[in-house]
Symmetry: C2
């Protein structure tokens, strides 16, 4: 937790809106539960300790611990800076297994990916779509953990697309921004480096896309590109592709 | 397991040396234990199925299942191709917590990092050095899993350096190849892209290197570079840096 994420409800002062909290004036928050535990056990925070804090979907700044005990921590916070810029990157990802999904959600938030589409493809196991990890509260929990790691406050948009063909036919034009790439190990074009401007990347499931699926993406303007002979796990491929492409 | 890794002992034919197995002539292996289980439950391999196989530290090729049951699988293997090229990349990594270490070892092998130095630094918890994950058999187990994912056979070299100052003073000249970089969030130089030629990268622990440690690396020719405002977890930073630098 490199940044303590705050919700409006944490503030002692009545806040008319998120906007009114962004004026840089000091205010007070009370933290309990997971965040208190983290402050006590990991940060070993005591009175006077200054921590990096941020308001969800708002500004970042500093929080000074005024009191802390087993029940609650009270911090005086000043929110002065905008959060770090997001990447201009849309990730279309075949739904991974639930355990991997949690890591990928955190990672997407940490890396600054603003828009993640979890989509179906032939080799996605049907049972993955029934995972409680796809409930919006569970998605948000993982995204917030990732934001706390990356020092960001702006919750990425996550979209579920359970049907690949209609998604590409009816919605891709509204979703895909900029250059369109699909990662495919047997592509002959190497993945480009440092693409300027917006970018949309489709990444397949374990075992990869079917050739027919790659062709479908190609018909919608996606170029198949390869990362080389080595097959990476999804949670390795996402940061490797972000590192290479952005 | 995108490639089934074979050991010399798996071969029915008496093999004088690893070299004698690399002539491309078909031979037979018998698999039991973890690899058999994986063939049966994940690959659902039956008689006649062709799989990608490779001899540890040797060639890759194909293996055709001749018989398979609950006790053993017998494959006819032909090893014809060299394994994929390694990166020209030396990673000096502050020893992570054991759970992260397992993932980083697998990842290093999958990504094609040939040489990994696990080193001490101020913020590495002393207890991590006592982890059974550092025993050579445990290290090798994780490296082999990573090789099987990446389709490689050549086991990366892993070195333990429990004392940072003597390591840098006495051994760094023999270890570091090419350009020397140290990842440090507050560096003013952005991390370069696509460095041609050999590269040595130092990556700190959770919480980062001390300023004094960064200065020590600088005195040994390392340039501090930043990946930007976002703080990545080690298992995200390694592939992101490999993707960007190579």
């Amino acid at each position: 937790m490199n940044l303590v994420l705050l919700e409006e409800a944490d503030f002692e002062e009545a806040a008319a809106s998120l906007a009114s909290l962004a004026d840089g004036a000091p205010r007070h928050v009370v933290l309990t539960g997971r965040r208190l535990l983290h402050l006590r056990t990991v940060h070993r925070a005591e009175q006077g300790r200054e921590l990096r804090v941020g308001l969800i979907d708002g500004r970042v700044g500093s929080g000074v611990v005024e009191t802390i005990d087993a029940e609650r921590a009270r911090l005086r916070v000043t929110l002065t800076e905008p959060p770090p810029a997001k990447l201009d990157f849309t990730l279309l990802l075949s739904l991974p297994r639930p355990k991997t999904l949690r890591r990928v959600l955190q990672m997407a938030a940490t890396l600054g990916i603003p828009h993640l589409v979890l989509m179906n493809s032939w080799r996605v196991e049907k049972s993955y779509w029934k995972s409680p990890q796809l409930h919006s509260a569970a998605l948000r929990e993982q995204l917030l953990l990732g934001l706390e790691q990356g020092g960001d406050t702006v919750v990425p948009q996550v979209e579920l697309q359970r049907l690949l063909v209609p998604f590409l036919r009816d919605e891709i034009e509204g979703v895909a921004r900029g250059e369109r790439l699909i990662a495919h190990p047997s592509a002959t074009t190497p993945c480009p480096r440092h693409v300027d401007g917006p970018l949309t990347l489709a990444l397949g499931p374990e075992g990869g896309f079917l050739a027919e699926e790659v062709e479908l993406f190609e018909r919608h303007g996606f170029t198949p590109v390869s990362l080389g002979a080595r097959l990476l796990r999804v949670e390795q491929a996402v940061p490797a592709l972000v590192g290479r492409l952005t």
